[in-house]
C-alpha cells in the first residue's frame, strides 16, 4: 500500500534554480515563480485591457476599469481624499493578493502553488502595511499620534484600563492581518486536498458524493479568495484612515 496521503505536501517549497549568495540561500523557488506569474498576469491584465482606450469600453477594458474603480472607491470612502495619495499602494496590494489567491486555485498537479498560503509571505505584506502606516502617522502628527490610544470623553479610572488594551490591539494588527489571510488560504487548500483524496479513494462507485461537495467547496474557495483580498485591502484603508485622521 502506498504512503498515506499527506495533504500538507502541496505547501512544500521547491527550489527551481539554485542560487547561493555568500552563505544565504537565495534560490528561485516555486513560491517566487508563482509571485512572478501573478505580477505578469496583473500587468498583462491592466495594460492589455486598457490598450483600446475607448470611451465606451470593450470587455477587457471594462474589467480593468472596474478593478481600478472598485479599489479607488474603497480608498476614497475609507481613507478620505488624503488617503488617495496611497491608492497605488493599496491597488498593488489588492491585485497581488487577489491574483495570488486565485492562481493558487488552479488545479495543476505538482506545479500549482498558493503564494499566500505561507505565513512569511502574508506577514511580510502585513508588516509592510503596519510599519508604513505607523511611519505615516508619526510623520503627519508627530508625538500627537499617541493621543490615538487615549479615547476621548472617557473617565480617568477607565482610561487606566483602556489605554493598554488600545495599545495591545494596535500592535496585534499585523498579526491578525497576516494570520487571517494565511489561515483562510491554508485551511481552504488543505480541505480541497483532503476531499479530493476521498473522491479518488472512493472510486467510481461512491466517489461522486465527495465530488459534488468538491464542486461547491471550489466555488466557496473562489469566493473566499476574492473576499480575503478585499478584506486585506479594506483593513489597510481603515488603518490608513486611523493614521491620517486620528479619531476612532
Amino acid at each position: 500500500m502506498a504512503d498515506a496521503h499527506n495533504p500538507l505536501e502541496q505547501f512544500a517549497i521547491r527550489r527551481i534554480v539554485d542560487i547561493h549568495i555568500g552563505g544565504l540561500d537565495a534560490s528561485f523557488t516555486n513560491s517566487a515563480a508563482w509571485m512572478v506569474i501573478a505580477i505578469v498576469a496583473i500587468t498583462v491584465f491592466m495594460t492589455y485591457g486598457m490598450r483600446a482606450q475607448a470611451l465606451v469600453p470593450t470587455r477587457w477594458q471594462s474589467l480593468a476599469e472596474m478593478a481600478y474603480e472598485f479599489v479607488a472607491n474603497m480608498v476614497r470612502e475609507n481613507a478620505g481624499t488624503a488617503g488617495m495619495q496611497y491608492f497605488p499602494f493599496v491597488f498593488t496590494l489588492f491585485m497581488f493578493v487577489l491574483f495570488s489567491n486565485l492562481l493558487g486555485l488552479l488545479p495543476l498537479v505538482n506545479l500549482g502553488f498558493t503564494v499566500t498560503s505561507h505565513i512569511i509571505v502574508t506577514f511580510a505584506l502585513a508588516a509592510t502595511v503596519f510599519i508604513g502606516v505607523t511611519i505615516i502617522a508619526f510623520a503627519k502628527h508627530g508625538l500627537k499620534f499617541l493621543t490615538f490610544f487615549v479615547p476621548h470623553g472617557v473617565p480617568w479610572p477607565l482610561l487606566i484600563v483602556l489605554t493598554p488594551i488600545e495599545v495591545i490591539s494596535y500592535f496585534i494588527r499585523p498579526f491578525t492581518l497576516s494570520v487571517r489571510l494565511f489561515a483562510n488560504m491554508m485551511a481552504g487548500h488543505t480541505m480541497l486536498n483532503i476531499i479530493a483524496s476521498f473522491v479518488i479513494g472512493l472510486g467510481l462507485i461512491a466517489g461522486w458524493a465527495p465530488l459534488i461537495f468538491m464542486v461547491g467547496l471550489s466555488g466557496l474557495e473562489l469566493a473566499i479568495a476574492g473576499l480575503q483580498a478585499f478584506v486585506f485591502a479594506i483593513l489597510t484603508c481603515i488603518y490608513l484612515n486611523d493614521a491620517l485622521h486620528l479619531h476612532h
Partner: protein, 75 residues
C-alpha cells in the same frame, strides 16, 4: 502520555474555537437577513459591512485553527 498522542488531543481541543466562528458568522448574516426583510432598500448599502464583519469573525475562529496547526507541526 506520549507526546504524539498529547499533540493530537491538543489539536482537536484547539479546534473547539471554531464553534465561536460559526456562531459569530451566523449572527452576522442572520441580522443582515432579518434587517433586510424589514428594509429591503437599505440592504445593498450594508452588504459591504456584512462581508467585512464575516471576515473578521471568521478570522478569530481561524486563530484557534492556527494554534491547532502550530501544536501539530511546530511543537
Amino acid at each position: 502520555m506520549e507526546v504524539a498522542a498529547a499533540k493530537l488531543i491538543g489539536a482537536g481541543l484547539a479546534c473547539v474555537a471554531l464553534v465561536g466562528a460559526g456562531i459569530g458568522i451566523g449572527n452576522i448574516f442572520g441580522s443582515f437577513v432579518a434587517a433586510g426583510v424589514r428594509n429591503p432598500a437599505g440592504a445593498p448599502k450594508m452588504f459591504t459591512n456584512v462581508l467585512i464583519g464575516f471576515a473578521l469573525a471568521e478570522a478569530t475562529g481561524l486563530f484557534g485553527l492556527l494554534i491547532a496547526f502550530m501544536i501539530l507541526f511546530v511543537f
